[in-house]
Symmetry: C2
Subunit: 138 residues, 2 copies
DNA sequence: CCTAAATGCTGTAGTACCTACAGGAGCAAG
DNA sequence: CTTGCTCCTGTAGGTACTACAGCATTTAGG
């Protein structure tokens, strides 16, 4: 359990803890090409370096912001080669935000409709429910 | 093409048109047990009745309100036996609405975060993007 | 009457993003 | 030496559809 200055032999379990990403998910990202195939120790186990921690943290933050894996892949290559302009990056973000706002409005409509239903129903022991009636309306 | 008074020989295509539900989706609902297995004509094709139109419309309306298929199944059996109380139905609706409101708040947080990112970025030809910087923050 | 288009059938696979095993190997501590 | 932990591969499941492939039948037009 020695890890002093040269901490560049990171096992998948430690990577998982340090990034708060599930081990199975890490392997999944590798299969999907979002993380590079790591080196393997003589026992066949994956060996990571600090750079992998940073890459995976980037990935996790993107996912928390709701970006698709395709978007994340996109953003990563933009970040990687250093050729990306602000305009390129902002475009990805704006598209995603438009998507989020669309979903937001859908959910707001939904919430209003459900609120109306809730209000219409006394929640009593009656077997004649206005909610069912409105769902069954011919 | 005769369909005058006794219109109780409905083909799946007509059911699809009348309910605005995809044919493949209708067959999927049947497989999942949300629609009863219909009669079959001598040619093996599905034959529906008016009651099926109503059931499928009920189903579609529930889906439009974002209920899961499990919830819909639940609501349908509540509606079917006539033993359901308002309280039972309202409980399903309220749970779902709580779920929707949860997602709504998640999306609002997301939108705020994305808006902040968008504002931080000039969208210029600069290759030093504040969005990438914030995503890569160590 | 014949043919072409439309409709229907079953069964399988793909979508997005993981998560959860099964069944096995290797290594360290007690 | 045994127990327990971590790790490995490969596969299946969940959600709600959608999209074929490959075939049979029905209907409309000429």
């Amino acid at each position: 359990m020695e890890r002093t200055l040269e901490a560049t032999h990171i096992a998948i379990g430690e990577l998982s803890v340090r990034t708060a990403v599930n081990i199975e998910t890490i392997r999944y990202y590798e299969r999907e090409g979002l993380l590079p195939k790591p080196l393997r120790g003589s026992n066949g186990r994956r060996v990571y370096a600090e750079a992998d921690v940073e890459r995976l943290q980037f990935l996790r933050r993107c996912r928390e912001l709701g970006f698709s894996l395709a978007d994340v892949s996109n953003l990563m290559s933009l970040a990687a080669n250093g050729v990306a302009t602000c305009a390129d990056v902002k475009c990805v973000v704006s598209k995603h935000r438009a998507d989020v706002r669309g979903k937001l409005m859908d959910l707001q409509r939904l919430d209003r409709a459900l609120a109306a239903m809730e209000q219409s129903c006394p929640g009593s022991q009656s077997t004649d429910c206005p909610i069912l009636a409105s769902l069954a309306q011919t």
